[in-house]
Amino acid sequence: MKDNADKLLESVVEKAMKSAHLESPSSDFTKMVMAQVNLKSTTTVYQPLISKSGWAIIFGCVIAFVVYLYMVLGVSDSTWFESIDFNVVSTNDIANFFSKLKLEQVTSYAMLVCGVMLCAQIPILKYFIDKRQRGVT
C-alpha cells in the first residue's frame, strides 16, 4: 500500500517537474560570459618581469665585470680571501656545545621516525589540498 503511494508520488512529481521547463537567463547571458572570458584571455598572458634578452644582458655584464676585475686587478695580488679565519666555523661556542651533546640511541631513532612521518605527511596534505581546491573551483 505504502509502496503504491510512493510510486504514485514519484510519477506525479516527475510529471510536475518535467512540465515546469528549465528557466532561461537573460538573452545576452552568453555574450556577457564571453566578454569576461575574452577580457581574461587578454589580461592573463604571462609576462616575466625580466625578459630572456634582459637576463642575457645581465649575465653578460656580470661576466664582463669579473673579466675586467681579473684583467685589471689580477687575482694573485688579492690576498683578502686568505686573510679570513675559517677556524671560527669549527671553534665557536655553538659548535662546541653540540660536540658535547650525546644522544641516546632511542632518541635518535625517535627523531628519525619523526622525520619520516613529516615527509610522509607532505604528499598526503598535498593530495587533500588539491582535492579541496578542485571541489571549490
Binding site: 500500500m1 504514485l8 508520488l9 510536475a16 572570458v37
Partner: protein
C-alpha cells in the same frame, strides 16, 4: 543533453580558441541557471552566480582531467558557488514539513492539479518548486532534467548516494505538501468526494 563532444570544444579552448567556450555556455546555461535559481531564489543573484560558475569553469579547464562528465563538473562548480553565496549572505534556509501521503491523497492532489487550466497548472508547479527549500529544488531539478545517477549526483553535492536517495524521497513529499497547501481546500474536498 549531449555530452559526447564536450571534450572536442574543451580541446579547442585549450588550444587557444576561447570562442569555442560560447558553445559550452549555450549548452549548459539553462540548467545551470535553473539550478542556481533553485538554490538562491533570486533571478539577479542566480544570473550572477551562473556567470561566476562559467568563469570558474573556464579558468579551471586546464586542470579538468575528464575523470567525471563535464556536465557533472559544471553542476558541482555551480553548487559550490551558490553555497558560498548562501554562506556569505547568511540566508535563512526555509523548510517545509514532510507529510505522509496515502495513494488516495496523491491521486486527489494530482486530479486537482490536472483540473487547472494549462496556465494555472504551469504557475502552480513553478510556484510550488520555488517554495521548496533550496537543496530540495536543486536535487529534484538535477534528478529529473539531467537524468544523473545517484552516484553522479553524490559527486555534485559531495554527499553519499544513499543520502541523496533519502533526500529525493523527502523532497517529493515536501513538494506534494506545498501543492496540497496551495490548492484551494474546496477543490481538494471536491476530488476527495469524487473518489468516494
Amino acid at each position: 543533453m549531449t555530452t559526447k563532444d564536450d571534450h572536442i570544444y574543451i580541446d579547442q579552448i585549450l588550444n587557444g580558441d576561447a570562442n569555442a567556450f560560447a558553445i559550452l555556455v549555450d549548452r549548459y546555461k539553462n540548467l545551470v541557471f535553473t539550478l542556481t535559481l533553485r538554490l538562491l531564489k533570486n533571478r539577479e543573484e542566480a544570473e550572477e552566480a551562473s556567470q561566476d560558475t562559467f568563469m570558474k569553469v573556464y579558468k579551471s579547464l586546464p586542470s579538468f582531467k575528464g575523470e567525471s562528465k563535464f556536465s557533472t563538473y559544471i553542476y558541482r562548480v555551480a553548487y559550490n558557488t551558490c553555497l558560498d553565496r548562501i554562506k556569505r549572505n547568511k540566508k535563512h534556509l526555509n523548510d517545509v514539513p514532510i507529510d505522509e501521503f496515502t495513494a488516495d491523497q496523491v491521486v486527489t492532489i494530482d486530479n486537482a492539479l490536472n483540473a487547472l487550466t494549462e496556465s494555472e497548472y504551469q504557475k502552480s508547479i513553478k510556484d510550488g518548486i520555488a517554495m521548496l527549500p533550496e537543496m530540495d529544488g536543486f536535487l529534484l531539478t538535477l534528478y529529473y532534467f539531467e537524468d544523473l545517477s545517484l552516484d553522479e549526483m553524490a559527486t555534485v553535492v559531495n554527499l553519499e548516494a544513499n543520502t541523496i536517495k533519502v533526500r529525493l524521497y523527502r523532497s517529493r513529499k515536501k513538494l506534494m505538501t506545498i501543492f496540497k497547501e496551495r490548492l484551494e481546500p474546496e477543490i481538494i474536498a471536491y476530488y476527495e468526494g469524487q473518489r468516494r
